[in-house]
Structure formats: C-alpha cells, structure tokens
C-alpha cells in the first residue's frame, strides 16, 4: 500500500516538472523488478489521485525494467523479465544484479495549451 505514497510523490514531481496549468495527458514511469512496487497498485492510486491533483485525462504508463544479471559462477550475462535468485543458465546462486532498483519518472506528455499551429 506504499504505492499510495509513491504515487503522491510521483504526481508532485510531475507538477514540478511541467509549467503550471499544463494539461497532463500521459505520465511514463520505469519500475525495477527488485523494488517490490506493484504497477497495478500504482495505476489504482493514480486513477484515484489524478482528478484532483493532475487531470482526469492523465494516463499512467508503467514500464517494468528488465533485470540485468551477471552470473559469477558461469559468467553469463542475461536480461530477465522476472526476478530470479538462481542463474537461469547454470542454476548457481551467484547472481549479481546490475539494476532493479529503478523507480523513475521518465517523461510527461502535456497538451500544448498555447494552441500553436502544427
């Protein structure tokens, strides 16, 4: 349930990052597999909070970052879609995680309120 606090921090960061009165359409975040943060729970809280804090039209896109691992036993470098503790190649418990702690705001798409030509 800490996703509620995380989404609150996210929305505050979005608001700081774009000009005031921007109509936010889409928010993209990257989440690492080792964070334990649930994308579904993030979307759930985002939909509750966006109306008042952002815009009812804002969408949240959560990209799960593949987990890059290096096996110190067999030397394999792999990219995993799910967390593993044993090397998928050789079975040894010698995986070094090269990432996985990401919890980043990637980008924000806003409607261009200035109504410029194209």
């Amino acid at each position: 349930m800490h996703e509620s606090s995380i989404v609150e921090s996210l929305i505050n960061l979005v608001r700081e990052s774009v000009p005031d009165a921007s109509q936010v359409r889409r928010v993209e975040v990257r989440v690492g597999l080792l964070t334990g943060v649930s994308p579904d729970a993030m979307r759930f809280y985002f939909e509750i909070m966006r109306d008042e804090m952002l815009s009812p039209k804002a969408e949240l896109a959560v990209a799960l970052e593949p987990l890059r691992v290096h096996c110190e036993s067999c030397g394999a470098d792999q990219s995993l879609a799910e967390t593993a503790w044993l090397c998928p190649a050789c079975g040894a418990g010698a995986l070094a995680f090269l990432n996985g702690d990401e919890l980043h705001l990637s980008s924000v798409e806003v409607e261009d309120g200035e109504g410029l030509h194209d």
């Binding site: 995380i6 960061l13 774009v18 964070t35 334990g36 967390t83 705001l105 806003v110 409607e111 261009d112």
Partner: protein
Amino acid sequence: MAKVYTIEQRILKRNSEAAEENRRLFDTHGVFTISLASSPGSGKTSLLEKSLILLREEVSVGVIEGDVQTDRDARRIESLGVPVVQVVTNGTCHLDAQMVQGALGHLEIGKVELLFIENVGNLVCPASYDLGEHLRIVLASTTEGEDKPLKYPAMFRRSQALVLNKIDLLPYLTYDLKEAESLALKVNPALEIFETSCSTGAGIPEFCRWVIARMNETTAA
C-alpha cells in the same frame, strides 16, 4: 498537439534528498544509525529492550520509534531510561526520511552515539524508503513462515543483517531454522545472521558485539 518533457528523475527524489541530509547530520555528530524492520510482532521492540541494556554500557544510545498508532513502544524504551522519540504515522505504513528528520529535532543528537530507528511493522513498504541510516537490520521470527525472504526479497536484499528471533519456541514449532537461513542467503548472500530469543536472552550478546564492531568500523573510516 502534444509536448513531451523528458524528466528521468527518481520518483522518491525528495525522500532521497532528506535521507542524504539525515546521513550528513549523523556523520557530523558521529551518530551511528541502524534501522530495524520486520512484520508486526517479530520482536523489534523486544530486541531493542534486551540489546540497549548491554549496548548502553559501552555507548550512549537513543531510539526513534515508528508506529501507525500509539506511543506504547516509546514508553517501553523510556522505562529503560533511554532517550526516545515516538513518530506516529497515522496510517502511513512506513517511516520516510522527512519523518525521521522531524523526530531528530526532538533528540539531543549530540549526546547520542548509537541511534536505532524502529520502523513500522511491515516487510514491504519500508524497503523503498532510505532513511539515511548506516545499517539496515531485518527481523523474522520462528512463528512466521521460513519463506519470508522469498516473499519479501526487497527488504532482505537491502539489509545487512537478519535477526531470527524467538528461537526458544523451536521445540514447539515445525519451523526449520536452517531452511529459513538458506532462503535468506539465497536472496542476499552477504546477510549476517543472528539467532536470538528475547525471552531467554540467547544470541543477544553476539548481536550486540556485532553492532559495536560495525559501529567502530564506520566511525573509524
């Protein structure tokens, strides 16, 4: 027409900044800080009660207690005569670095050499929030499942030590201590593991010696 801003910033940037401020404050005042996390009821406050009695013979200690409601834990620590500040989160399932910052204002930080921060009982949420501590310790107890480390890997992976508490109950349980330890090491091979009982006091002196050793290592560095 739409406009896309590329941001690439940490969502918990504010928390990380506050955690860095806390860490600088601890280092300036020579305070070694340890956070404790576990499920509710694993024995965090009991471990503190037993350990503080030994630790305060060697260093001056202080405690920040985090709970969703009540100051019961702070009162337990206060009754030992140890300086303590209670943070009541009013529903929030974890402490964050700003809450710790607020609590530090109520401690005479210059008089504390070893500070414990007891997080809200929860193995999920506290893992995401850096508090500025030097060490993270996770507790589990024999009345829980052995598979806690696999179910809550983020917390076990980010901790430097695991305290397996309530070992005095082992004769009455089917809990497999070795299995629990091997699962914990699978998630985090670097974990230092202690087997303790806060009822009998088993393992507490070893745990305290390790804490003091880590503390001396860090303050000497």
